[in-house]
Amino acid sequence: MASRRMKRETLARLIVVVLAAGFVLAAILARGMDRTIEVHAVMPEKGGWLPDSLEARAGEPLTLRLISDDVVHGFAIGQSDFEAVDLLPGRPVEVTLTFDRPGVYTYYCTRWCGPNHWRMRGTITVEGETASEEPPSAPPLYVTLDLDLDAPHDVPQVPSRRPSAVRGALLWVEHDLEARALPSPDRATSPYALWRDRRARPETSALRDDDLWDVVAYLWQGMTTPEALREGRELYARNCAACHGVGGAGDGVFGQASGEGDPESPGFGHESTSATDFTDPAHMLGASPALLQGKIVRGGMGTGMPSWGLILTEEESWAVSDYLWMFQFEYEAE
């Protein structure tokens, strides 16, 4: 009788262990066998990417399980053709990355997730051998030109109306300016410098100041392409508008920094500042494309402007720079 009771008790204990602990042990075992690297995304104020640095080998696939732990985030690799993926809260997304070349790659968030969204970046260090025939990458133009990106560039004279490339094109033909063999503008020249040069020339003496600005606008449009402007518009909307505003007036939702002491502020840790107003002619017309592109690549030192040099390719940064002039000049419709 006692042994029968003991057998029943033993069976009961076994049932409890199997049913009660079985699920738990199975979960722990499954977790232990999972070798996929998990990357959690949280709002930058709470940590950003966790972890924020990874390692890989060139030519070998790197599989990541991306999980957002709070709001909608996005994941993209800078300067690559990896298509950005959205991370919905609680829904893991697995991606497999393969890097052809060693180097340091930046992954970043592509969905505005908070005031410090731009700080949400991590790095993947890819080890391997560098191909010997690869040329070293060229420095940005502003470095080559030795431009002081932080020097003030406000101009004393601005147009009384928004310069129009359409009107400029008509004036160009009307005054036969093509035949005058005037030097073309380049990326090291600011619109004001170009306007001042043209103002001093007798070939354009018949043009009024505003008409000359229209000609400048026409020449400025000639330095870019419709494709670049389209790409620039898209990149601006995705990466810049949140601070600089849809209309470029520096009135974006995250554009106002409240100062050093506020971790919620986009300018946290920096001097108090606002996002640049691209619609201000006094400020913009004194800047050259090289200066604008340089600020995009380097970031604004002492301001909340992030560095995009590791995120955007050179072509992309020029596209954004080209697009910014559309807040000053009225270009021809595509």
Partner: protein
């Protein structure tokens, strides 16, 4: 009051007497419980993708408030996993007691308290932090883990299920609302119990443990403290225990409650009001206040919740009682009639009661009751506190229906989260059953508001009926109306919050 003994059904009796089905259910519940803790601690922080939140606060809560408590009373307590590890350690066995088993004290004393104030406080504490508990998996996990650890410690220190009886915040309201359920465990013939010396149902024997809930079945009048564990059913050598099917709310007729239980009714009603406003209302500031624990806004929210549940609602009810008591009615006439009898030399009702008590203390048999004449307490002699606790019974149906209505608000909307969470309980990208990708699909959203209205209005009518019955018992029918008015105001508030 008609009752049907379900144990007359042979297979049901065998099912309930056998320990194996209950053990398997308990083991499964414990497994789910531990799994929820693990998911909460290790899984995704996103609540609707974590097993801990979805299984506990949506699925289990829905089952508890919509099915188990209203229809089966304390049925959940019979398989609840929280006390099980402690009880198994206390009893030294998982299944049946040893042949010479009696209640194993082994130096364990009785729990020092004999009321549910600790449960009231525990539930209030949970309510204060509920916005965080219900949305953060890790917090839910720590709460569950804490409860199981406290239950183990209490089981090792005190006899029987002291945690369940006196400390568990969930047990508190389940016990209160089980008074409404249509099932009960009662003895068939109290005479058999009176003649039985061993009282095995309470002390235990080889077939069953002594009641873990410290209840003597022969004296059991209400469901409040009966955990439906069936130990008395197993231990009783005379098959003198019945599992009766009965009318809803039967216990409200017989019960005498203390201030602690009356307060439980207020805490639950107040909790339903506050939860409805905070969690389902359109006021974002309230939600933020409830969530940001430690902030100034949270302290304001905490103060408001405490004031509503512990002060304002009971205080308003007390004023209602005073108002009711002040009404001159049949109650007043009774008092006048009693005074007139005394003047005429006839004994007053109070004197009659005193005489009867004296007779019984000398061993005399109780006087036979006059058929058709119920013994009624003298209304004139009931203090405001006594009236307060008696009329608090009217809040029990409304309270349960308030929680049913509140639960309906989110259950149909969120139950679809259960499918993906079963396939991917931790949010790690699993897909065990192929349902991980199932999107959110609210169900029955057009029907839910009507069900809520039905629940709340039904609860009001039920409460009104209880209030009138209490008033009739004490011979003051008109006293019910202020109480009914109080219930009506609360019902209106809940309707506005939940449906309006």
């Amino acid at each position: 009051m008609r009752r049907y003994n379900l144990l007359r059904i042979p297979w049901l009796r065998r099912l309930l007497v056998s320990r194996w089905p209950q053990l398997i259910l308990r083991a499964l519940a414990l497994g789910g419980f531990l799994f929820a803790i693990l998911a909460g601690l290790l899984g995704t922080r996103v609540g609707n993708h974590n097993f801990a939140i979805v299984a506990v606060w949506i699925a289990w809560w829905a089952a508890l408030m919509l099915v188990l408590v209203p229809f089966l009373g304390r049925a959940w307590c019979s398989i609840c996993p929280i006390p099980m590890p402690g009880e198994w350690l206390q009893q030294g066995a998982v299944l049946a007691p040893s042949p010479s088993a009696r209640v194993r004290s082994d130096g364990r004393g009785r729990f020092p308290l004999r009321n549910i104030w600790p449960q009231n406080v525990a539930f209030t504490l949970l309510a204060l932090f509920s916005a965080v508990i219900l949305t953060r998996p890790a917090v839910t996990a720590w709460i569950l883990l804490g409860m199981i650890l406290v239950a183990v410690v209490v089981s090792l220190r005190y006899e029987r299920r002291a945690f369940c009886r006196y400390l568990c915040p969930v047990s508190g309201f389940i016990g209160l609302y089980s008074q409404l359920a249509p099932i009960e465990l009662r003895v068939v013939d109290t005479g058999i119990c009176a003649a039985h010396k061993e009282k095995s149902c309470y002390t235990g024997n080889a077939e069953g443990y002594g009641c873990p809930w410290s209840v003597f079945p022969a004296a059991l009048k209400v469901n409040t403290n009966c955990g439906l564990c069936m130990e008395c059913l197993r231990a009783c050598e005379y098959e003198n225990i019945a599992l009766n099917l009965r009318a809803f709310g039967t216990d409200l007729d017989a019960s005498r409650r203390g201030l602690d239980e009356a307060y439980k009714a207020f805490i639950m009603l107040g909790g339903a009001l506050v939860y409805s406003a905070v969690m389902l209302g359109p006021w974002g500031a309230l939600k933020s206040a409830a969530y940001q624990v430690g902030s100034a806004a949270w302290w304001g929210y905490a103060a408001a919740l405490l004031a509503i549940t512990w002060l304002l609602l009971p205080g308003a009810f007390y004023l209602v009682i005073r108002l009711a008591r002040a009404q001159r009615s049949h109650y007043g006439r009774l008092a006048t009639a009693s005074a007139q009898r005394e003047k005429a030399g006839e004994p007053s009702r109070r004197a009659e009661i005193a005489t009867e008590a004296s007779r019984r203390s000398r061993g005399a048999e109780p006087r036979p009751k006059t058929p058709g004449v119920a013994r009624r307490p003298a209304a004139a002699h009931l203090t405001p506190r006594q009236l307060f606790t008696r009329y608090a019974a009217a809040l029990i149906p409304l309270g349960l229906m308030a929680w049913v209505a509140f639960s309906l608000s989110f259950v149909f909307a969120n139950l679809s989260y259960l499918l993906p969470v079963l396939s991917d309980p931790f949010g790690w990208g699993w897909d065990l059953f192929g349902t991980a990708g199932v999107g959110w699909r609210p169900a029955l959203m057009l029907v839910a508001p009507w069900l809520q209205v039905l629940a709340l209005v039904g609860g009001l009518f039920w409460s009104a009926r209880v209030a009138r019955r209490v008033a009739a018992e004490i011979g003051a029918p008109r006293q019910a109306w202020p109480v009914i008015g109080f219930c009506a105001v609360l019902t209106g508030g809940l309707l506005w919050l939940l449906v309006g």
